[in-house]
Amino acid sequence: MEPINAAGAFPTRNAREGQFEDADKISGETMAQIIKSRGGKQTHKGCAQCIINCSNEYVDEQGKYVTSSLEYETIWSMGGMLGNNDLDAIAQLDFLCDDIGLDTISTGVAIAVAMDAGYKEFGDAEAAIEMVEDVAKGTEFGKLIGHGPEQVGKHFNHDRVPVVKGQSIAAYDPRAINGMAVTYATSPVGGDHTAGFVVETNLEAFGGTLDRFSAEGQVEASRNAQIHMVLVDTVGICDFAQTGFGAPDGVGNVCKMVVAKSGKPFSEEDWTDIGKRVLQIEVEFNRKAGFTKEQDRLPKMFYEEPLPPYNKVVVISDEEMDTTFNFFKE
């Protein structure tokens, strides 16, 4: 969290700013300290055989279990995005979403839109908890939250609704990382950071070569990341485990695994061919369902409102966005 916050890419208070002044109160490091001091689990094995152990168990001050696992996107959607610096409340919100059956990103952003529209104050954690509890209670407002941020925005006639194709963006503001603007706008599944994650490519300190405030190279980076991600999803590799692709011959090794499993040839060329075919099928499905290229755009707030503290906007033009899937076959 703090690296993304330092990059000014941490959408805060319904993406009014890109840096949360209380990020250190809800950061991973702080959470680890809290969990340790209360006797929870800072790490534990979520998936058999995995060495990453990405999960955790958050506990309250009495050491009683609250939720598992409390992850970056939720700490963002229920924390920074709401101007909420109370990690205990964030953990409670995570539990409620799991218990009720709600996506934490969509729910947090639905609450953020409601707060931004003036329904409640940013930072009011109690109000956020009540809104989520209302979903389970089936109240009128609860049903609205349950339908997600786009519906909340329509209800309040609010013009700051950070969704693409009806789905919220995630914890990386596209104005601070233009590559993510392309992914959010063009991915067939709507606002989704994992569909084509280009954050590292945009951060010089992480070996990235792209200028995050410029359009140059962004469409190509997102296109390639989206093609690659189709296969990661198709073969069923975890998004964290896919850092293994950074190893020498990472893709080649996975292709060997596919051969071993399927008994059929499978090469790196197949890897990208299938990715391209799947993206084309998905986009064609969307077209038949009524989506046009007009839905491959971000809400105007991202083009018009400079994001503090770096005060930049998305600079990818509509024409450039429309070249993302230039490999589609007739």
Partner: protein, 79 residues
Amino acid sequence: MRLTVKLYGTLSRSFDGYDHSSGFEVIMPEEASIHDLLEYLNLPSERLGMISMDGRLLNKKSRLKDGAQIKIFQPISGG
């Protein structure tokens, strides 16, 4: 100049008694660069990701400021 340094991820493990809520103070010569600071802290660059000063990312040309808070991160990956 005096700097407050905070280390993120696992970078603090080699610093005995490190307290993340306060970080620690480092005194560097007036004209010290980021490179000098990292050398002083014995943090090899291949272990490092971003570095920020008072909430802004540093690049290779950035100069250190007296009284600044420096945050040093490891490479991150994620979702």
